[in-house]
Symmetry: C3
């Protein structure tokens, strides 16, 4: 890879994958603590909240990757990478909150949603600029 | 990014991520309508069908992204992007049908499967052509 | 795409997507064999193990894609592609084992985890080398 490679995006992506691995581990530890043996996914409320917290992170992870990379490649890499770190923080607040109580999942969830919305909007602007340039010969910068 | 950037793939990918966000929202609205509080995932049949419809879309989303991008980068971008839009339509038909009844999930499901099969086949042809060219010096075009 | 395109990564990625499709099909066949109609996800123990085995593969699939591609693009393509094939073997051993009994899921699981750890480490080394080079002008090779 040359010097133009998206190292920052790659670094944030790899960190986010490690975070997802860590959250999966937290579910495993919760299984042990509450004696919920696989393949069961029901048990004490705290286990069920931990399980669902992880599932929600899993459901949103591809959306995060898509918006991170489209924003990073078509708008600006450093902006996307920084937003990616904020998303990870939001997800950690979400997960830790949800383990404690269902209501405490909300602040982190809304933070992570705000980041996804921002990444999507910037990605959309960057892609539309490219499409106008390439297919309609309209130059916006 | 230069003019050779895959803007169409990026645009379809971003749209598909927004669709996934919209389907997640539909599950949230169904939770409220049927008073199924997190972390519960069981409840009235319509909620359970809505929940499973979304889960199935989540399960297949990475497969869609992989086949969309391998087809788009190694076979043809416009073909892949158009197929990607058909996949999104298929998934919407699937989701809306499944919410109504389990049987009505099938037409949209088979449409989305047909798109995945087509994207996979074209991606395979494109990649094999590249491998024959690069590693075996066999030129097919 | 030119001759520098990551054909091997693309090929392994496409194969892994086909494997995921195959595992989803196995869940569908298990539904039929055990008469568990959608949207139900509970039933005889073998069905529940099959369902969870697939879910676990789904949960880890984006982590696999991220580590495969960051390792392949920033460390070495052939190494990542080979590791990717080992991951797929690990996941198949995991799935087949889990269908038989919960305990038999462990060997394949640990194999796939070892591959993810290796891919992550090599990807991290490659990305850090790039960041030191690009942003700190430190050349390690």
């Amino acid at each position: 890879m040359g010097s133009n490679s998206p190292f920052l995006l790659a670094e944030v992506t790899l960190l986010s994958a490690l975070q997802m691995g860590y959250l999966a581990r937290r579910v495993g530890l919760s299984r042990m603590a509450h004696k919920v043996l696989p393949p069961a996914v029901t048990g004490p409320p705290e286990f069920e909240r931990t399980f669902r917290a992880h599932q929600n992170c899993v459901e949103f992870y591809p959306l995060f990757l898509v918006t991170l990379w489209t924003c990073g490649m078509f708008f600006n890499e450093a902006t996307a990478a920084a937003a990616g770190l904020v998303y990870m923080i939001g997800r950690q607040i979400y997960f830790n909150g949800y383990v404690n109580s269902s209501k405490k999942r909300l602040p982190g969830f809304f933070l992570s949603l705000a980041v996804l919305g921002t990444l999507s909007l910037l990605a959309f602007l960057g892609i539309m600029r490219g499409i106008l340039h390439k297919y309609f010969h309209i130059h916006l910068d």
